[in-house]
């Protein structure tokens, strides 16, 4: 008979695995690079944070305590993942990667200069 702690850790692990699998599936199924970023950036981050949390709960209170390191990893994940995705999205948009045919609104088009060279040579 599994203990309460095991059931908690198991549910966290299954949730995290489900979210990471959704992220990977979105990476395959989505039509253009921005949609893929959307899938991978959000679902993947939340999934891996849930799995780290499962490890923290599993080892909490034992001889091998990873609470600090686990929370540090979660902090860094939440800090770096959106920044990385944003940098990539900016670079990819400036390189004029094609949008999906089903794109309805492109608000950046009015804001950014038509020639990306102007953005390149700004500094």
């Amino acid at each position: 008979m599994p203990s309460v702690l095991e059931i908690l850790v198991a549910s966290l692990l299954l949730t995290g695995t489900f979210l990471v699998a959704v992220a990977a599936l979105g990476l395959i199924r989505m039509p253009d690079v921005f949609c893929r970023m959307h899938a991978a950036g959000k679902a993947g981050t939340l999934g891996v944070v849930t799995i780290i949390l499962a490890a923290v709960v599993h080892f909490a209170g034992g001889e091998q305590d990873v609470t600090f390191r686990g929370l540090l990893a979660i902090f860094f994940q939440f800090l770096t993942s959106p920044a990385a995705t944003h940098l990539l999205a900016r670079a990819v948009y400036l390189c004029e990667y094609p949008l999906s045919e089903r794109t309805q609104v492109n608000e950046l088009k009015a804001l950014l200069p038509s020639r990306p060279d102007e953005v390149f040579n700004r500094e």
Binding site: L13, V20, I28, A91
Partner: protein
């Protein structure tokens, strides 16, 4: 560990490995560098998750430092690729 918990660990490991294979497939078919960069980012995430699951399965925290180090390294990798795509150089 109860048999229930071992089964859950196996399911998670297989699901994560399958996710990694999907990421590798996207990395393989591209079609352009940006798609591969996104796949690389997600692959790093999947690696971190696999390390956590294996740590729980082996009852060991030996590799747990790799979790937060890989997080930072993944960010550095993605940021470098983004800078390269945007400007044609990294530094």
């Amino acid at each position: 560990m109860s048999p229930f918990f071992v089964t859950v660990l196996w399911i998670c490991l297989l699901g994560l490995i399958l996710s990694g294979i999907l990421c590798l497939y996207r990395m393989f078919i591209g079609p352009r560098a940006g798609d591969r960069a996104v796949a690389f980012d997600t692959l790093g995430t999947v690696f971190i998750a696999i390390i956590c699951v294996l740590g729980i399965a082996w009852e060991s925290v030996l590799y747990f430092d790799a979790v937060w180090i890989l997080t930072i390294l993944g960010f550095l990798g993605s940021a470098s690729i983004a800078r390269y795509l945007e400007r044609g150089r990294i530094f």
